[in-house]
């Protein structure tokens, strides 16, 4: 009892109601992700990670990219990409070779096998995105998802920027 001097701080816990929205948001986004992953797996035997990599490569000139460029396009850490590429290379989906201009750098190329599998997976995957995500929402709701997602995204970025002063303009 006796609210302990709340309200002034604005740093208090969420209400029960807010917490319920939070929980549902987390659970649902994970369920959606799992559904798409399962679809990709069963229709083409690849993972969402595989798909991201192959999508980026398939849109690149000569179907190849520097490892660092690929990491940026996927929004992945280098280490994660490196591990993933090793697994994909073992399955002959991609090939790695050295870059000519910088001996440190690696070039990742989509193999013919990889390109074929990507093409054959793409249509079904996109249909599933529509079926599970787009079709679940009215146009207004889709618009609402866009704006709320953007708000969350911006907020996270601002938070990250605040935490990492780095190249401050001084």
């Amino acid at each position: 009892m006796a609210q302990p001097a709340a309200r002034a701080t604005a740093r208090r816990s969420p209400t029960v109601d807010e917490l319920a929205v939070w929980r549902d948001y987390v659970e649902t986004s994970e369920a959606v992700r799992r559904t798409l992953a399962a679809g990709l797996q069963s229709s083409s035997g690849i993972s969402p990670g595989d798909y991201s990599v192959m999508l980026a490569l398939s849109e690149a000139p000569d179907r190849e990219l520097r490892s660092s460029a690929l990491a940026d396009l996927c929004g992945w850490e280098r280490s994660r990409l490196s591990h993933h590429l090793r697994r994909m290379e073992e399955r002959d989906l991609v090939a790695r070779r050295q870059a000519g201009d910088d001996a440190r750098s690696a070039i990742v190329a989509l193999t013919d096998v990889g390109a074929r599998i990507f093409r054959s997976s793409s249509a079904a995957h996109l249909r599933l995105v529509r079926e599970v995500f787009v079709d679940a929402l009215t146009p207004e709701q889709l618009e609402a998802v866009r704006t709320t997602t953007a708000a969350l995204h911006r907020h996270l970025d601002a938070r990250a920027a605040a935490a990492a002063p780095e190249t401050s303009t001084d």
Copy 2:
């Protein structure tokens, strides 16, 4: 221009615009999840999975539950829970023992250590939920998240029900 005879099917791929919302939704929800996981890890040394399990146990009578009940509360598969409990047991966060009435069943109890850690993690975690999620959104946006999430959730459930006829009333 020249829409390729779309609209009639409703089973076509998402538009570029819809796809952009989808991508942002996936990326952002993962970024949010990662942020919360990192916060929990650094403040209390536990994972979101640990937190879910301890939350459910802490609210249960005698701070213990049957394994199956715990799995239901967390919304996890049995196998996942079993693996997770083994790891938590090694860290003395929970303890497992046999149930009296059904020799197959296992009872999971929150240890004193686990209860203490959970209590000390809870406030910071909830504050972070507010900071990262609730505070990022206006009240209207929070409401929009609620309704869109509910729509996605319902749609997924309907889809799952359609795929699994099981106990149909025949």
